[in-house]
Subunit: 234 residues, 2 copies
């Protein structure tokens, strides 16, 4: 029901002092990383207690997030994490397929040693998933991978849209992924291997194409599940 339980009042003491921006980042991350699932209610008062602040900064954070299409507030009812319709999911994925190709086209950032190191680190971690799958770790690797990719996008507008579509699609994908652990782990390994090769050649265009290929792969998986009977695997 409510995704918060383990650290109801512990968090009040762990942060220096949460302001609206920090809360915003945290909430987005929690939604992406599936700690809050589509349909979950985010109660302002509850979050305020957790962070040790008043409702005001929480409200500010929620308001800023609302334009990303991740949450929706209705007066008298509550604020819930948006559950995208099947059509919307398709739209976001179709869009990401196109955006991926633009990564190497619109003023790309030449991938350097830092990118390579980051990817190789993620590859190491992904390999360990084969001998013991951990859903949280899989999600985290994907999340950090996404940030690495974003850092290769030189066009600020494209980068913003890449981020936006990622957060919109993330929870859907991670829900699907949790039902096919072995499959998605192998796919992630392939993706990272391909990316390492692309970055070794300093080829940002190849990075974009690799992304496109694997988005296409994920899209196909999601479509298959949608046609089977939906992904309401709460």
């Amino acid at each position: 029901m409510n995704a918060i339980d383990d650290k109801s009042k512990a968090a009040a003491a762990l942060g220096p002092r949460m302001d609206a921006s920090a809360i915003q980042r945290l909430l987005v991350e929690r939604i992406c990383l599936l700690r809050y699932r589509p349909g979950d209610q985010l109660k302002e008062a509850e979050l305020a207690r957790e962070f040790g602040v008043s409702r005001t900064p929480v409200r500010d954070a929620l308001n800023r997030i609302s334009h990303l299409g991740m949450i929706e507030s209705r007066n008298g009812v509550g604020t819930v994490v948006v559950r995208l319709s099947e059509e919307q999911i398709r739209h976001v994925y179709e869009m990401r397929l196109e955006l991926a190709c633009l990564i190497g086209k619109l003023s790309p950032v030449a991938p350097g040693p830092a990118h390579l190191a980051a990817l190789q680190g993620l590859l190491q971690r992904a390999r360990r998933l084969r001998d013991g799958f951990k859903a949280d770790e899989y999600v985290l690797i994907n999340h950090e991978l996404h940030e690495v990719i974003a850092s290769m996008i030189g066009n600020s507008s494209l980068r913003s849209m890449w981020l936006q579509t990622y957060v919109q699609a993330a929870s859907t994908w991670y829900m699907v992924a949790q039902t096919r652990e072995a499959e998605v782990t192998d796919a992630l390994l392939e993706e990272l291997t391909d990316l390492v090769n692309a970055v070794k050649h300093g080829d940002a265009e190849a990075v974009g194409f690799v992304q496109r290929i694997h988005i296409q792969y994920g899209f196909a998986k999601i479509n298959a599940m949608l046609e089977e009977g939906g992904l309401d695997a709460d």
Copy 2:
């Protein structure tokens, strides 16, 4: 300095009662339509007085807008309308060039009689601009044209990005346009004529390409001004 002056307290009586969403729409429109110019300060207290509400709903509206990259708040200083850097302007335009081509590609909405009628109405209004240019009317025609185009975009994600890049680029373009009245009027007439033809054939793909062509035209004009010496024509 402050863009509000003529209706400081008049508006308090003209609306039924402004809520945060209504204020949000109004502020976005005012920024697009160049009533607030880049660099202008938007004081919460002042806006609250104008709309006859407290600072809270104004704050909520500003917070929601902030994710569009149109405004920026700094504690102790104020909230200002963002002035995009030259690089950011180029990025947005490069992005719009790509998005335009996707209009006819990603689940387009077949243009119908309603679209045609709307475009022909705009064409009529645009023709009158040749015998007496009015900056406000030029901006309004462009604004409504943009909404017509958006209604032909079936992919919700693409439509959202199309809107987002429009509001980011709008004020820049309208500032440029005001220095070359005859030129941009002719270009607008051509654009509308081309669009009418495309819509007559029910060809959404052609609509996208027409958009691309004219975005390219505007981009070239802006680039020319940037190289001449900037567009700080306050």
